[in-house]
């Protein structure tokens, strides 16, 4: 069965999702990967405000290709989530991040933070960047524009195909 959900979403939706559920996600999400995560956590360390609100939001681990003329965005598949393991618990605990989208397994510390959150982890299809770009209807740089492909974008998406890889109860498909 495929569930259709819309982001951002609160804890009730997080709790309704189970590992193995197939999801078509619509709505608005943030992007962020290595360099953006490092900067977000550095701002938290300094007690400064973040440039984006993460409460009840999803972060998609992606560094898209530039848009060619007439297109919203270039190819935009997930990157390996493990590199964000050092940062994700902080964003779940301090900012109430509702979930993450990426590819590959997460650390035990991330899963524990997801249980506390609660937060959910979705797997997008790695290597299907062209297909995924078709689900993105709008893309604007929201913060850290100097990072190029690693900037934080606000994406508006429609029916992005995902799988709940790890749920907020700690159950994992990996």
């Amino acid at each position: 069965m495929t569930k259709r959900i819309s982001a951002p979403f609160g804890p009730e939706t997080v709790k309704s999702l189970r590992a193995g559920d197939r999801v078509l996600l619509s709505g608005k999400i943030w992007t962020g990967r290595d360099a953006a995560h490092k900067r977000l956590c550095a701002l938290l360390d300094e007690g400064k405000a973040l440039p984006v609100n993460l409460e009840n939001e999803l972060i998609y681990f992606v560094g898209p290709c530039p848009a060619s003329p007439g297109k919203v965005i270039g190819s935009a598949g997930p990157t390996t989530s493990g590199r964000m393991d050092a940062y994700s618990p902080r964003l779940i605990d301090a900012c109430h991040l509702a979930g993450m989208i990426g590819k590959g397994n997460r650390s035990a510390a991330v899963v524990e933070a997801m249980k506390r959150g609660p937060a959910v982890y979705f797997a997008a299809t790695g290597g299907a960047g062209a297909l995924i770009s078709k689900c993105i209807k709008k893309a604007d740089v929201a913060a850290f524009g100097d990072l190029g492909p690693e900037a934080i974008f606000r994406l508006e998406i429609e029916d992005l195909p995902l799988v709940v890889a790890i749920d907020c109860y700690g159950k994992s498909l990996y």
Binding site: A35, C65, G74, S75, T80, G127, A130
Partner: protein, 282 residues
Amino acid sequence: MERIVKFDEVVEAAAALCGKAACFLPEDVKKSLLAAAEKETGELGKEFFRQYAENFRIAEADKLPLCQDTGFAVWFVEYGTDVRLDKGDIYAALDEGTRRGYTRNYLRKSIVSDPLFDRRNTRDNTPCIVHLKLVPGDKIGLTLAPKGGGSENMSALKMLKPSDGRAGVVKFVVDTVVSAGGNPCPPTVVGVGIGGTMEKAAILAKIALLRKVGAPNEDPRYAELEAEILEKINASGVGPQGLGGDVTSLAVHILFHPCHLASLPVAVNINCHAARHAQIVL
């Protein structure tokens, strides 16, 4: 007889290959993916194979990169000893070709200036990496194998002891691929370099990825070894995207080289299911 090739001809050919490699999956890789889809019995796995096929069709039709990670531009050059460029050198030509190709085709620029301190994006995907081989003749053969970070990160090299033997090689390769899980976007192509020195094994592993996917080794002993490693990898159940299934790797390709009597170097270079490459002879 010396033949003069224009620097700009090399630059433009290289730039065109950047766009081609990023957007058009080679026929052998497509065939291998479609054949593997038939073998997959997992429900999620089948869905991923459906998405891979749709992805390479969209990429080709819309000239969109197959994957947003359009990679490090790794060039394998067969440079005829009778060729001379009218100006500059092959390294400069390939850097300029990479720069133009990645910019003109809206490919992602993924190279940072140094690995540890600034990590500033160079904004044009240079410098590229060039593996140069001198060959007889008056031609320049260019092969581009753009390499994504996710699969490259899961690669490994180990200096085994000769006493570790065949079983040691099987174990190291299988463990490397299985512990990579979903990170390198399985089903993967696994390049293995055995023998030589440390760096020779690593380069062989990368060159092995260029073979037509699933074409068996010419040496029957190594062909059998490839089949055994592939079977063990696929018995792991890691599956497409690491979310379970029958097909974790599409193929294992081994290249070997004579080595020191004290050594048994083994390198494993993993490629994602979008095993991209493109070539031209000038």
